[in-house]
Symmetry: C2
Subunit: 303 residues, 2 copies
């Protein structure tokens, strides 16, 4: 597969008000994200509340999304699990269901359980051995197992399927720059994440894409494509125009923001997240929607 | 149900050398733990590598253990999950399968995701609403969601099924003492954990039981029963005689120690843990077994 570039938004897992899966809403989110110009659609990521699903629900989300996207763009499935064996099984199941790329964090559990470098290499090698598709390594502060630049470069060097890395840690741009220099063609797919709040510095550093939420992927995808087409100033201005919005998402709302936007645009019926997530307050919601309307994004006009 | 007291060891999840489930070994561990004088048998805890199992495997371990124990003692199932909804479903499934008590940590995920006090109360209340059996709250440093003494007391006061707490944090004895004073009859089941490395101070503070590993439950159960029968000096001497062993387990081996002991005693065929756990080195293993033989525990004589 050619290297993906552009925007790969994270689809939330859609729930009804009673917290049960809303598969019809899941399919509408998939359609919306394809229409938004996504290079691929990512499911079961942390912004999809993957930590709040059981195994059967995971399978339902994969099946519904792959069927609905129907080959228009690749589907990326997050398959992280503490156990290398189960991460490999999940990745194989994703490939068998039609996914074209998997994304994994390194193994970690809770506040205290982290894996050593050799164990991280074993983990990704075990996953790679079970599949034929590409792997994106996710480097996020949520993991107690921290990935050094050298370790990510080693994964890309030793495991050919590791062709992507999503860097969403403090000083992401420098890490991307270092990876570009260290890994070169071993790791062509450098992405950032974290709601795209560092996108322009990350593009300067060599990123070729971003993994934002499902809130304004049309706009953030436009920033990447303008930038990669050579319109650096235009891309920068466009990104700066939505920075207050995505910064508000990142710092004040978290994963609830995309659901609030999707519900406001009637893409989904309920913005419910599973407990123990707290509800977003009325004031926070009001401010978010004000910033969102100002951006005039597809999510408010798609329905 | 009368309040459990004594030793409730954690059964490891037994794997073959290829990391697949060894249900026959799981059944033998259950028999061994009943024969060791356990007040109940706990499965799917962190020392059972619950974080390395998928949902189908969880069900297999529950079914095999309940069937093998066959009512001789209660079975306790750990049902923690980030989602309150899924924790409740897991707890209901455990009760339906024959468990007589469930244990849960509060919700947490990774290094950064913790839940607030109201969300913790909602979580345990949601679990309680789904079952009729008792709940043990697990208070361990692995969780990024920390449980204050006041919050544990609140859970016990507001949720009648919360009758047990397992305290395995630094200064466990003081926390147990404070809980005994604050909660009284609301929380009769005060236990410690952490391989029983603080057992005697915890008994002084009001604990009525301990949750150790499956390595020397016969000895640690004897410490508790001697103590509760009034033989405080005898209990203390007995505990001090195995402290070097359980301290070595706690600090040098982790959950691998019980498997090494069970395999040395031919209770199970393989001491394999699932990757990314590293193997225990030959030297560490040798020292552990030397300390273990000195204790002359049931695990080496049961087969």
């Amino acid at each position: 597969m050619a290297v993906l570039q552009g925007v790969i938004p994270v689809a939330p897992t859609v729930f009804r008000d009673d917290e049960s899966l809303d598969i019809e809403g899941q399919r509408r989110v998939a359609d919306f994200l394809v229409d938004a110009g996504s290079a691929a659609v990512c499911i079961l990521a942390n912004y999809s509340e993957q930590f709040s699903l059981d195994d059967a629900e995971r399978k339902q989300v994969v099946a519904a999304t792959v069927a609905q996207v129907d080959g228009r763009v690749p589907v990326m499935v997050t398959t992280s699990h503490y156990s290398a064996r189960i991460a490999a099984q999940r990745s194989r199941a994703a490939q068998d269901a039609g996914a074209e790329i998997v994304m994994l964090m390194p193994p970690f559990f809770g506040a205290t359980m982290a894996a050593g470098e050799q164990a991280v290499v074993y983990y990704f090698a075990t996953v790679a051995d079970s599949i034929d598709i590409d792997i994106m390594v996710q480097d996020a502060p949520l993991s107690t197992t921290r990935l050094s630049t050298a370790l990510i470069a080693r994964l890309a060097r030793e495991i050919p399927q590791v062709r992507y890395a999503k860097i969403e840690v403090p000083r992401a741009a420098q890490k991307l720059r270092d990876l570009a220099a260290l890994s070169g063609d071993d790791l062509p797919g450098l992405f950032d994440g974290e709601e795209s709040v560092t996108l322009i510095p990350d593009l300067w550093a060599g990123a070729i894409g971003t993994m934002c939420s499902a809130m304004v992927p049309d706009i953030l995808g436009g920033v990447v494509s303008d930038y990669l087409a050579g319109d650096r100033d235009g891309a920068e201005l466009r990104w700066e125009s939505v920075l207050p919005l995505i910064h508000y998402e990142n710092r004040q709302c978290g994963l609830r923001a995309a659901k609030i936007a999707l519900a406001a645009g009637k893409v989904i019926a309920s913005d419910r997240s599973r407990a123990p997530f707290d509800d977003v307050s009325r004031d926070t919601r009001t401010e978010l929607l004000r910033l969102l309307r100002r951006a005039d994004p597809l999510v408010l006009n798609w329905n």
